[in-house]
Amino acid sequence: MATSVLSRQLSESGALVERHWQELNARRRLYTLLGLALLALTLFASLWFANDSNAGKFFDRLPHFFDFVGDLVPRDAMEIVRALFDLPSPYDDGSFKYNYADGRLYLTDSLYIPEYFHRMLETVNIAIFSTVAGVFFGFILSFLAARNLTPNPWIRGPVRRLMEILRAFPEVVIAGFFLAILSLGPIPAIAAVSIHTIGALGKLFFEVVENADMKPEEGLRAVGANWIERVWFGIVPQVLPNFTSYFLLRLEINVRASTIIGAVGGGGIGELLRLSIGQGHEAKTIAIVILLFTTIFAVDQFSAWLRRRLVGDQAFQLAQ
């Protein structure tokens, strides 16, 4: 910067300080540059590696980048509506591409639920069920993992390790394992999502518990309450709004997670989407994407609204 212009008028010690500052600045700049160069080098090595081990090469495939948009154009716009609501298609030739009406789930003789709505309901239900199950166990474990409520490190340590393992264990492995034991269906997805949820929520919960005010607990201790009473009447009322907020945040994440797990064999809408993209059924794909997009958006908005009502704006800090 322009400070060197001033240095002629500085005293001897002032010039020393100025020189020091310049040196420090130069060193800092050098480190920043080195760091950026290292980052760029890693990036190029990574890109080269990714390109090299990919099935199609990046520059060969780049012209085809937006091909999938072309794969998504149905024969007419009404096809999407027909696919979404299981209405018979005029193009029906008996193939799977246009058999929209086959998936209807009849409630009465004339009233039916369209297939995709039914599957979407199943996916959302998987998410809600496993979030509730995860909250139940995470709730119990979090008090055992909190330093202020469980001073004994021999209980706290194992509980925390358990939650770490549950959190880091790949969901796809849990789903695959249960898929091998149980038959195809939503239960492997429920197991995978809820086991992951226990670990993730348990961690967030015990951090909330550790930040709780201990005065109510002390008061209850003074009148001779036991551990469960102290937790239930002293801590739970304080942490409940935060817990609810994290529960809703997790619900958003779990709706997405259960869709993905569905695609790898857990049933629900994810599986249908994977199949319809793979087989090139344009109208069906668009119908599912619209439905999925709307659902995820709606769940996000609902949860944001509820969280803002319950805890105010602090619910929107980055949750990890």
Partner: protein, 504 residues
């Protein structure tokens, strides 16, 4: 002392009268908790019915779950003992047995005898002919080619010496073993002994009542003996199948085709350091390394490559996402760009990228680029541009305006205002959030890999679908857990330095 602190009865009643809401809350409040609880319970009951959980759990094959779990950390060796009608036996191992092509483990003790057999050479089908000798009958194809007259001429009596097993003792552990001799199978487990008669054809008859660890569905049919974690066995009329389970991962370094297979570690090391070249074309060290990398059962090189792909996917995807989200978030922030249309456009764009979801992007890009990490990178890039853009613009909207005004007041250009008034405040937050997403994407990259977007996910999924490679699944899970743990620590350390607070 106590008398003075304890309020008297009228005093307590006076306190209660002054604060009625503490003792008698409104009925709505009182029942709210109970109603929510009942609602949740009802919902759980409904879901139990909706997913027919009880039915599925009751029909599940829990026995096989134990076997699969045991497969994670152990392996089975499976000798098959064929029993002929005359009580002689032949032992064979599966082709890809973990013990290599010619196993002779010390827990199988065989007593052999050379018998002289008389065989009518061009074998007309004979029901009573022992199974073990039929495979030695190399004359049979000639007989089939020749006419009936030549066959008659060649039909001579041949005697030859064969080595057969007359007694076999399989020791599982100290209290469990199976002894087979003279058409009798004697199994001993935890102090109980069960003797079974096998006839060399299709009937098994237990002598005496069956102990708890033995099971036979119908008289004469096969008997299954389960010895818990040490293994199990199946006794049929003409064969005994042994399944002996050992703890550990079999052939983790060298598979049974490698010249280093089955040698103790000391010998392998001395071979590598000072041994003669096994393959004249290259040194023993490179041969050993090559054998490890291309181990047919564990596929180390492939697994490591796929794991690296997963890491690269998360790294490149997150880096690109934060690079693109960085300029866009200035457009989306209300206080930086006071143009409502631009704000809304940028924010809705972020919402769109986020809500379409990583999984859907992954499916689309797998079609565009073919299966591989490029699809995964693009999927992570698209989703995280949305998420990071949203978080970045929220961070920008919460900045302290005084620094910006200060820089503006000395006449700085708009770019300089952003550079010196805004960036120093938000850069640590931006970097910290990018790091957090890098770490969490390392985890999610595993799962989008399973739908074809590259990385270890697909390999993991394939290993699970075979239902027999659970030890490979365990290996990959262990690697993933290690990588996630290392990246967690790196990202936590970086973030706590950036944000200047204690890591949690």
């Amino acid at each position: 002392m106590t008398a003075s602190t304890k309020p008297s009865l009228p005093e307590m009643e006076a306190i209660a009268a002054r604060h009625p809401h503490l003792l008698h809350s409104s009925s709505r409040k009182r029942f709210k908790a109970a109603l929510i609880g009942i609602g949740v319970l009802l919902y759980m009951a409904f879901s139990w019915w909706f997913f027919s959980i009880g039915h599925v759990l009751a029909n599940a094959n829990w026995g096989i779950a134990g076997t699969y779990l045991a497969d994670w950390v152990s392996y089975e060796v499976r000798p098959e003992i064929a029993i002929a009608a005359d009580g002689t036996m032949a032992v064979s191992y599966a082709r890809n047995s973990p013990l290599g092509p010619n196993p002779n483990p010390d827990w199988v003790t065989l007593e052999k005898k050379t018998v002289t057999r008389t065989i009518e050479a061009p074998a007309a089908p004979q029901a009573s002919k022992p199974k073990a000798s039929s495979s030695f009958n190399f004359m049979a194809p000639n007989a089939a080619l020749g006419g009936s007259q030549t066959a008659q001429a060649q039909n001579r009596i041949e005697t030859r010496n064969e080595e057969v097993v007359v007694r076999a003792l399989i020791t599982y552990d100290r209290s469990t073993n199976i002894e087979i001799a003279d058409g009798l199978v004697k199994a001993t487990h935890s102090g109980e002994t069960l003797t079974m008669t096998v006839d060399g054809a299709d009937t098994v008859t237990p002598q005496g009542p069956l102990p708890r660890w033995a099971r036979q569905k119908r008289p004469g049919e096969k008997i299954t003996l389960s010895f818990g974690l040490t293994g199990w066995a199946e006794v049929e009329g003409d064969k005994v199948s042994i399944r002996n389970r050992f703890f550990g991962w079999a052939n983790f370094l060298f598979d049974s085709n490698s010249p280093f297979f089955g040698k103790p570690y000391g010998e392998v090391v001395s071979l590598i350091v000072s041994g003669e070249r096994i393959d004249p074309a290259r040194s023993n060290l490179s041969l050993a390394w090559n054998n490890i990398l291309y181990n047919a059962e564990w596929q180390h090189l492939d697994v490591w490559t796929k794991l690296l792909q997963t890491i690269v996917m998360a790294f490149v995807g997150t880096l690109f996402a934060s690079l693109i989200a960085f300029p866009l978030c200035f457009l989306a922030a209300r206080n930086i760009t006071p143009n409502l249309f631009a704000n809304q456009l940028a924010k809705r764009f972020f919402d769109f990228l986020r809500s379409v979801d990583m999984f859907i992007w992954a499916l689309f890009f797998t079609r565009a680029f073919g299966p591989g990490p490029l699809a995964g990178i693009s999927a992570i890039f698209f989703t995280d541009t949305g998420t990071l853009g949203k978080l970045y613009s929220e961070a920008l909207e919460n900045i302290d305006d005084r620094q910006r005004e200060g820089v503006k007041s000395v006449g700085a250009t708009p770019i300089a205002v952003q550079r010196f008034g805004v960036l120093p405040q938000v850069l640590p937050v931006f970097a910290s959030q990018a790091l957090y997403f890098w770490e969490s994407n390392t985890r999610s990259a595993t799962i989008i890999g399973a739908v074809g977007a590259g990385g270890i996910g697909l390999k993991l999924w394939e290993a699970m679908r075979t239902n027999s490679d659970w030890e490979n699944v365990a290996y990959m899970v262990l690697l993933i857990l290690m990588v996630v743990f290392v990246f967690d620590s790196i990202s936590n350390a970086c973030r706590s330095r950036l944000m200047g607070r204690k890591p949690h």
